[in-house]
């Protein structure tokens, strides 16, 4: 819900009358006190954020230059071997498969979930009776934990399980395949599960964005003789632009770090063939489970760099006007 409030208020804040000061305190003392408050109130957040979010990334860069079993201090310096060496990540076909799988998930999520959710949102953007119940139901997949979703679909998609028997009873028995076992199919099964889980999220965002389009605009277009489709195309959709762009951003970051659903729903054997690996599952398999900490951290750095570059480029060229004041500097 956007209002024009802050700009007005910010203007007023600049022009507000001098505050009555308690007598007897010097200007210097007041300034000192203000800084104590600033440091005392933001300090804990800054420390926690720095130590547990940013510092680990810096350590990852350092560790990734070593071969290291995780005990003691890393000593076996390998330079960039973990990245580009003979046994480096970029030489491992399984890692390249993981990169490709992340790309499939990223592009697949955008081109399937986006239009699907948008179409449904446009058709449902009216106050029909039962709308709140509907909203509750479509949001359920998003609220369930990834683990629950993964196990649920794993059971449904078992060979000769529920999905297969439903397909057979619909006369679509020929479609039945090794959803979770066939290495050439499993990544598409994963994409299907992720689509099921996250389309509702896009839908709710779009419906929220549509609720902010003033009805006067569409009514005016209708009075001017625009068809329903023309109204959607030329009036409603342009006003939804910022919501769509922010959804794309969130979906991108989410796709790059997919872990839980893949980890739970596809078996380690299928994963280790590269059939359903993502960068994150590959990283945990190698770093945490195989104790190749240097190598695992190199994968972490690759994941970080890809996400960060994508995010910054997207933010710089696409998102700027949408989040002005949030991710960019705001004058105040």
């Amino acid at each position: 819900m956007t209002t024009t409030g802050p700009t007005v208020l910010a203007g007023r804040a600049d022009a507000r009358p001098a505050r009555p000061r308690p007598t007897g305190t010097s200007r210097a003392a007041r300034t000192r006190r203000k800084w104590y408050e600033i440091i005392g109130l933001t300090g804990p957040a800054v420390i926690v954020f720095t130590v547990f979010v940013l510092a680990p990334m810096a350590f990852a860069v350092y560790y990734s230059l070593y071969r290291w079993s995780g005990y003691g201090w890393p000593t076996e310096f390998k330079g960039l071997d973990n990245y580009f060496g003979e046994y480096g990540a970029f030489k491992d076909p399984i890692f390249l498969d993981a990169l490709r799988n992340n790309a499939i998930i990223l592009v697949g999520s955008l081109v399937i979930q986006g239009p699907l959710a948008l179409g449904i949102a446009l058709l449902l953007n009216r106050n029909f009776r039962g709308r709140s119940v509907f909203r509750l139901l479509v949001f359920v997949p998003y609220v369930l934990s990834e683990v629950t979703v993964g196990i649920m679909w794993q059971l449904i998609l078992l060979r000769d399980g529920t999905a297969d028997s439903v397909l057979q009873s619909l006369g679509l028995g020929d479609l039945v395949t090794g959803w979770l076992a066939d290495p050439s199919v499993v990544i598409w099964t994963m994409l299907f599960i992720l689509t099921w889980k996250y389309t509702g999220f896009a839908l709710i965002l779009f419906l929220a964005g549509l609720a902010n389009v003033p009805p006067e605009l569409t009514e005016a277009a209708a009075i001017d003789g625009a068809s329903w489709w023309q109204t959607q195309r030329h009036v409603t959709l342009p006003m939804l632009g910022s919501t769509i762009r922010i959804w794309i951003f969130l979906s991108m970051i989410g796709s790059l770090q997919v872990f839980d659903v893949i980890w739970v729903a596809s078996s380690p054997a299928v994963r280790s063939l590269g059939a359903s690996n993502t960068m994150a599952t590959y990283m945990v398999d190698h770093g945490f489970n195989s104790r190749e900490w240097g190598y695992g951290n190199a994968v972490a750095v690759i994941l970080f760099v890809i996400s960060f570059v994508a995010a910054v480029v997207f933010q710089r060229f696409v998102l700027r006007r949408d989040v002005e004041g949030a991710l960019t500097t705001r004058k105040g």
Binding site: N127, L136, D160, A300
Partner: protein, 285 residues
């Protein structure tokens, strides 16, 4: 640019019954979203034999013992307790640290304020999973591995950026006159924060709290690495353990899974407005 979480005027247009197409579509979408969940819940009332013989059918007869067995497991309740402890701890931490930082970032003027804000928003630009390996090593070296705090503190850290992004514009939107009035009445800035701003910010605080709680309740990767000790496992880990240990007992897995998702579903149906409001706030930045 301002985020408010007040309930939006949903009654802008009068209710209508809509057209049949709208209903057919809404029904289809709702069915696809919800049918698998129903399947899991009903599956818990069947036996593994029933499920194997007839994968897509209603319970016949209804079996209650599978659910009863799960509920009687002390492991299940230990996992509920662990999940609750960690989620409550995370939520408290996020709200306290987040609102303090957002207060300074919205109502103090000082050099470097925007830089500090941008610093926090860096956290939104890359996925949390990227740092998970070095984070684990850090927690191990700090002796926080295998402890609740080892999950709570990093979760607070990950959740801070979005919390500050939601709270800052909300706190900034209160008029300066309010602060001046408090000042005339003798309250200093902290008094104004504590006695006036906090109570007025309840809707926004509830939103960030709900988002943090749900994120913690569902989180998997961090507890998977940090909590090696099975007695500390949370529900998502428990669901995975159960399905791995009882892979032949389909009905049992279904019952365990549906009981594990009940709290999230219940909590969500009570707080749906806040979650959706919070997401809207998040996208509107």
């Amino acid at each position: 640019m301002v985020t408010t979480t007040m309930p939006q005027p949903s009654q802008r247009r009068p209710f209508s019954w809509g057209n049949p197409l709208t209903y057919a579509l809404a029904l289809a979408v709702a069915a696809i979203s919800f049918a698998p969940v129903i399947y899991v819940i009903l599956g818990g009332f069947r036996t593994t034999g029933q499920i194997a013989a007839e994968p897509a059918a209603l319970p016949d007869p209804w079996v209650w013992s599978t659910y009863a067995n799960v509920i009687r497991q002390s492991k299940f309740w230990a996992e509920v307790l662990n999940s609750t402890l960690i989620a409550v701890g995370t939520t408290l931490g996020v709200v306290v640290l987040g609102v303090c930082a957002a207060f300074v970032l919205s109502r103090y003027k000082f050099r470097g304020r925007e830089a500090l804000y941008t610093y926090f928003t860096i956290g939104l630009l890359f996925p949390a999973a990227a740092g998970i390996l070095p984070l684990y090593l850090l927690l191990r070296d700090l002796d926080l591995a295998n402890s609740y705090l080892g999950v709570i503190i990093p979760q607070v850290a990950f959740q801070l950026p979005i919390t500050i992004v939601i709270l800052r514009p909300f706190l900034a939107a209160f008029p300066a006159e309010l602060e001046d009035a408090a000042s005339i009445d003798g309250a200093d800035r902290l008094g104004f924060f504590w006695r006036i701003l906090l109570p007025l910010s309840r809707p926004a605080l509830v939103t960030v709290a709900v988002l943090a709680f749900v994120a913690s309740w569902n989180s998997f990767l961090l507890p998977l690495l940090v909590l090696q000790n099975e007695s500390m496992h949370t529900l998502p880990l428990g669901v995975q353990n159960f399905s791995a240990e009882h892979s032949q007992d389909t009905a049992g897995i279904l019952a365990f899974t549906s009981l594990a998702m009940m709290p999230a579903l219940l909590f969500f149906s009570l707080a749906e407005r806040q979650i959706v409001g919070g997401l809207q706030g998040a996208v509107k930045g």
